[in-house]
Symmetry: C2
Subunit: 640 residues, 2 copies
């Protein structure tokens, strides 16, 4: 489906202005605050990341050797912690945050430079390996953290640090700078600079972002030029030998295979791609650049119609942590990095802001409720880096990773969840996600408090209540999710004018004079449904996925007495049952299992098909799998 473009630009809502009181999400946020952030802080200490900011590492010291992108892990933790502080006073957390900011300030060089690796390990090599060294990527995360800290707490301690860093980047990479023409192999700084521009109003940050984005993929290729100057392979040189026949593949890996306005397919490392596309959408919104907007829409269509798992996971291959070919969506070997699904959420929100179209929120919701939150265990302390859609029982979450991008990325997304639920325009409030919460915002010149209550995260009913000092005319936009066959709306108990039809952007538009105490009741259809994949997806041929509301389900071997892949659905769908994994119900009902008993162990090939026996099926929400030990798992199921 090609989203129809409209000029209806939306603004995201500040995290601080939303209180989440949803029975599903609020406990997750509380767990994040009370447990996960502490656990991640301990990992930052234990792995040497925070200690490295003292700049005391030497080749002779016993300290762990700093890595070029350690700052990014610190920054994402800081960003998450800042969002938490914006909505929940927590003196202990605040003290940790202040300590980390002070350490970062202490590690910053006089000229604004801030990267421990290139300060103490390879001091002469600053900005010589943009392709592989993640130097600007780390700077970008620091900048995002600085903006988040400022917007959440109003304090400028970290913003001051990162503006000095950003000013250095402007000098070095802006017109006339020593490194003008260069850009980072791992995109991130581009979107961070737009955020910094929005926070400070300083146009030069926006300009530098556009400079980075415009330089990408142009010839002569910067990564060739810098390699020539350097005379050595990059940081990852051994991994990706620069043989001519691999040159294109390598440049696709970091989306520098073509100028961004000419790119038509989502390729390469999935997280990198998402962060680039985020910046392109931001720049299109800020500058009205139609070329960037058109490229974003092309890339979006390609990604979501050819290369996206039903869970919103993206990037099928471990080899490049990214994309391979159209319709290549293997389930057991799906890479579907948690960070990539998070990146898709980031990009989707920006596309929705740019176009006002609900189709983007649909994908955001899919990724958020499935591919993203599968990344963390029920206790908030174990993490998936990869998110397969089937398992032979050998996969489980880990405490932490050498490359620790995913845990703090999850943290910053969950901590900022409030800002994804609503969006505003000059005279409209859009309800994008159905998550119990209260937003305070200005619309049509007056302050409005909109409260949303739901009958659960996959519930069939949403109640909206307006609180306002005085009546005002504005539009309330309620997204009509495609997972509901119908959306029935009542305003103050009455069917509204026009019957609550869905507009071309995918919303029910309720335009009226809204007064204090007005209520809107929204009813959805949340019947269990079967999802079928394109017949071009070999991995899903002859299979269906169970879904209800925004949640995709899976079967775990622990619930059935055959491996998950040997389960077949019967005619009737399983129905909502108990909710052991939280407030989202499991689905239960009769199904079928295939087995030959011991014979299946004693031989591989048989002249006859296996016997089928009825079994009681339990399907659990995909995000909740692997919380009861190792087990086989399957999202895509056969039908009997």
């Amino acid at each position: 489906m090609e989203p129809r473009s409209t000029p209806a630009r939306r603004m995201p809502v500040n995290v601080r202005d939303v209180v989440v009181h949803d029975p599903f999400w609020a406990p997750r946020q509380e767990q994040l605050r009370a447990r996960t952030l502490d656990a991640q802080y301990e990992q930052l200490v234990a792995t040497g990341r925070l200690g490295a900011l003292a700049l005391t590492w030497t080749p002779e010291s016993d300290e762990p050797k700093p890595h070029p992108f350690w700052e990014s892990d610190i920054a994402k933790w800081l960003e998450a912690a800042s969002y938490v502080l914006g909505t929940h006073p927590d003196p202990a957390l605040e003290a940790k945050v202040d300590g980390v900011i002070a350490a970062l300030a202490g590690a910053q060089r006089e000229d604004g430079y801030l990267n421990v690796y290139f300060t103490v390990v390879a001091p002469g090599q600053r900005f010589t390996d943009l392709r592989d060294a993640h130097e600007l990527y780390s700077a970008g995360h620091l900048i995002e953290a600085g903006v988040a800290h400022y917007s959440s707490t109003g304090r400028t301690t970290l913003l001051d640090v990162v503006t000095r860093l950003a000013d250095l980047l402007c000098d070095e990479f802006g017109p006339g700078g020593a490194h003008h023409g260069g850009y980072c192999g791992h995109e991130e700084v581009e979107l961070a600079l737009v955020r910094l521009y929005r926070a400070t109003g300083e146009r030069r940050y926006l300009d530098l972002s556009l400079t980075f984005v415009d330089a990408r993929g142009t010839e002569p290729h910067y990564f060739d030029l810098e390699q020539g100057r350097r005379g050595t392979p990059g940081f990852f040189g051994e991994m990706f030998p620069q043989r001519e026949h691999r040159r294109r593949e390598f440049f696709e890996y970091n989306q520098s295979h073509a100028p961004v306005r000419e790119q038509t397919e989502a390729v390469g490392h999935a997280v990198r791609a998402m962060y680039l596309y985020c910046a392109m959408a931001d720049l299109a919104a800020e500058t009205g650049d139609e070329g960037l907007r058109a490229a974003c829409e092309r890339l979006w269509t390609h990604l979501t119609t050819r290369r996206m798992y039903v869970t919103g996971g993206i990037g099928d291959s471990r080899h490049n942590e990214g994309f391979t070919r159209d319709h290549a969506l293997p389930n057991e070997t799906a890479y579907a990095e948690t960070c990539a699904a998070i990146g898709l959420v980031f990009w989707a929100r920006r596309m929705a802001s740019l176009t006002g179209h609900a189709a983007y929120i649909e994908v955001l919701e899919r990724a958020l409720h499935n591919g993203v939150i599968a990344g963390v265990s029920a206790d908030g302390q174990r993490f998936f880096y990869e998110n397969p859609l089937a398992s032979d029982g050998t996969v489980e979450r880990a405490d932490w990773f050498d490359c620790a991008c995913c845990p703090p990325n999850l943290a910053r997304l969950e901590a900022s969840l409030g800002s994804y639920i609503y969006a505003t325009a000059a005279d409209a409030i859009a309800v994008d996600l159905f998550i119990g919460s209260t937003v305070t915002t200005d619309v049509a010149g007056s302050r409005v408090v909109l409260r949303q209550d739901t009958s659960g995260p996959s519930g069939d009913r949403v109640d909206l209540t307006v609180a306002a000092a005085a009546p005002a005319t504005w539009s309330l936009l309620v997204r009509a999710p495609s997972w509901s066959r119908s959306v029935a709306v009542r305003v103050n108990g009455e069917v509204p004018d026009g019957g609550g039809a869905v507009d071309e952007n995918g919303y029910v538009v309720l335009r009226r004079e809204w007064a204090d105490g007005d209520t809107v009741e929204v009813a959805f259809d949340v019947d269990v449904r079967r999802v079928h994949a394109s017949t071009l997806v070999a991995a899903d041929a002859g299979r269906v996925a169970l879904a209800r509301g925004p949640f995709v389900y899976c079967v775990e071997g622990v619930d059935v007495d055959v491996p998950a892949h040997a389960v077949l659905l019967g005619e009737a769908n399983p129905q909502p049952g108990a909710t052991p994994s939280g407030v989202v119900p499991d689905l239960t009902g009769p199904a079928w299992g295939e087995s030959r008993g011991q014979a299946d162990q004693d031989s591989l090939y048989f002249p006859e098909r296996a016997a089928r026996a009825e079994l009681p099926l339990t399907a659990v929400p995909y995000y909740s799998w692997n919380n009861r030990g190792r087990s086989t798992m399957a999202v895509w199921l056969r039908e009997a």
Copy 2:
């Protein structure tokens, strides 16, 4: 199925004593002689392998740098060429063979050592990296070539070279030798030494083979000891860092994780495993060692009931060119190296010789007709290294490989095919494979010529004709293949005594006084059948493979107007039709295809299932796929 052990040891037949005149195999052998061996010789020249034998490489020279296992490629070519010369005079080929032998003799050191890499590239490092450097592996292939050349031509030019090499190995690795206790990371020399013992009668070669096999996997571990002495990682050190937690995985890679008599599961690099198991079976046969025999039977059962593709391909993972987990048999990413299927043929024949049981021949036949010969294109000039059982259309054969083990390995197997068709015992001839051919052999003290004619390589009728100077009493054993529901035998037109029942070893035993002109007529059932996999194999759940006789079939996208994975079989099996790919018929008939047309391109997920339309199906023998350009392919098919 656990093969029942019997004491009925069989002897293989010399390649020279069998003339293959089968309509399927004879043209393949002729193509090998007339084309493939020349093409491979040219590759040996073009890649520098033959030139390297002049020992003129220096770091400053322009010559390609020799690799430690280049001799193995030369040796396998020599072995194949020798078999050809044994059955088919070819002066041009003989001249090439003699030239290569002379070059090898010239490269041999005075003490018998023969390896170019360790002579000119790393002269001080002889026998210091047995784990990774393939030094003894290459020696083993040279020894096999020497034995093959001698037994096929009666000449000792190459045998003399390799016995001098083997004598050096006895001195170095035998009791009291400087490297006693060592063994090769890539097994091969062990089985080669048994062949050399059988050819020469020199017991010390058998003893050295047993020394190598017995030392394997004992503690202290030789690969630790040599690494300690060397003080540097091995040749592949970077690939397999010797971190403690990877130690076991690394030792499983080369089957040195445990003493061989204690091994219970087929693990690690598949080709290495096969070559080791070959030597174990050979040694069990020569020495009566019950421990080795029991280990072989355990490993066989494990391999064939848990880790073997329906094509006889083995080793599911590219990562280690080998095995991962039980029932892990992914189709699209199947590694199933051509050499591993060949190795399985080698081992199966040895197990059949050791036990007299037809179950081993069953697997041999499966691998030979499917996983092995899929490795070469119809024109004999392009090769698969990996043999997936499904393809998205991106896979195709290549001209040659940097690691060129498979093409000459295929050549030596096809050239020696005659020796796999029959086996003999003191007073018996076993017909193991149904391949048109004539064998000349001694049985029960008299010379017998047995001719086999078939109604095609998957035909329903085999005619055997005895030629003998005088009548003699012996047993004719006709294998009863499990792919035929029935085996009907007539001797001189009459049902024999006992009705031709199948014995516990899987043969119809016809014991009588055989006279010149006696005939045996064997009728098989070659109905097309559907093969079902164990329900523990996730990749094949809900799918069937089509087979007829020993051949497994597949569907190629080029024959249907949907991708191969979108085909569903109907109720009736497709039936033998045209034979465009040779004498083995394609299967044709109505089937179903799933498609949503353009919608499948425009979206990924749908609420409704795709429409099914009847289509005319053509299934081709698996071995013949990818001879008509790139195309999607699937062995395992859904049923409508």
